[in-house]
Amino acid sequence: MADSPPNVRLELVNTAESVVLVREMLSGVGEAIELDPSDLNDARTAVTEACNNVVLHAYRGKPGPLEIELYLGGSSLDVLVRDQGIGLPAEPRSLEVDTGGIGLHVIQTLTQAVEFTDGPDGGTEVWMQFSAPGTSSIAPLRDDGGEARTLALPGKPTTTICIAPVSLARTILPRLIVTLAAHAHFSTDRISDAQLLADALVEHAQAAISGDKLSIDVTVEPRDLELHVSPLNAGRARRLIEESSLGEVAGVIEKLTDRHEVVSTDTHETLTLRLSDRR
């Protein structure tokens, strides 16, 4: 696996809401590669089991990171679920034992291959492989020299979403943003606006970034959703907003958000978009 960078990477915290987000992401991927619905269901179930283990057991009830990487290629779909928790007990690799609630049997049954390893920083990595004939439609990614970290937002629970190539985001990002808007207690009215915003971002981001990867940090607070799109090439953030204008439909992005802001550093720009629900 993992010779090339992941097609999707999610940095989450170990909450039940995060598991919903992972499942929605898989549905979006399934739609993009036209995965058979029952295969998608299998993948969703197995990955859910692995994530639930992180939510319920890896941190003994304390908050901690949950990281998901998804790779497409070679007629398979690979998902890596990583935590930095207590790690595997001595004998968990024996799939005979349903250790600590992890649905090992479920995962083993539903995957083409599965591997449990110790993570690089402690914790556990569960790597799962599923058959997915449609992955040939996804162009292979070149390694872009590791992860350029997006804006650090100290103190705020942040979800990081990275999708490559950007075209893959078309079916994934709207689902993720809708789910996050639901978690932010938005009304269905504003949830739909968030979805339209995600569509516009996917459409116009390509021209604003240097590689072919869309990276967004999202902070979720009651009735507030803040999206940080980064790193954008110098001068491109403003243009991204302007290009979302469709004649009469002036600035879709501008109209859908309550506030937008461009922060420039020496090397790049970050576009911050804030959506609120003031019903």
């Binding site: 919903v20 499942r23 929605e24 549905s27 689902r175 809708v178 789910t179 639901a182 207690h185 938005f186 009304s187 269905t188 009215d189 504003r190 949830i191 739909s192 606006d193 979805q195 339209l196 569509d199 516009a200 459409e203 390509q206 021209a207 469709l246 004649g247 009469e248 439909v249 002036a250 879709v252 109209k255 019903r279």
Partner: protein, 263 residues
Amino acid sequence: MSSATATHSLHIDRGTAEDLDHLFAHWQERRDPVAREALVKRFMPLTRSLARRYDRSSEPFDDLLQVASVGLLKAIDRFDPLRGHSFPSFAVPTILGEMRRYFRDCGWSVHVPRGDQERALKVRDAQETLSSEYGHAPTVSQLSQYLELETEQVLDALQATQAYESLSLDAPRPGSEDDTITFGDGMGREDERYELVDLDATIVAAIQHIPARERAMLHMRFVEDSTQTEIAARLGISQMQVSRLLRRSLDQLRALTRDPSEV
């Protein structure tokens, strides 16, 4: 069945309510096909007019008429003249019900399993109910509490309604049991107010391809700053319908104005 009876039925086929009772009696008690034929013929104009209400949907009219006719036959079979209601007041909901079922089963542009379809329609209806109760659109957790569903099931239902092409402006509105009001009726002449001014040629050309009612929605949302719920109320349609149509028309506009060299 003797030919004398059949002849007797036939000569009254343009008659009064009394004659209708007679035809129903002939069909329901004696299974006289000639009587049923006469009833079908008599109520075909009504059936045709009901089918025509769905005519702007993606289904061919002949298919719609066929589905409506099945509804008519069911109504003829089940109608009980002794209950004192007129046949049309019984037949109209039966025929519309038949068409609605047809749309539920066949009207989804991508395959959505039946259970998911039902759930999506429930979410749509609950969304309407709660919106009018609260004065604003509900949240996903309010919907999931109201319907006793998981958050994720509500989210999936919201996604599924995006696939529901055939919930056209002519489909009966939720909650209008008499089915006399359709989505289209709420439109009025709203769309004619939106003139196209000062736009570049590409956009003008593109926007001509967007149906008038969707142009009106785009104008209300992005020029007048109305919320989706306000637009829905103004047009007499559901917010989910507004959501779907806005998304589709923005998508179309982008596809039409996309610079081919960027693709």
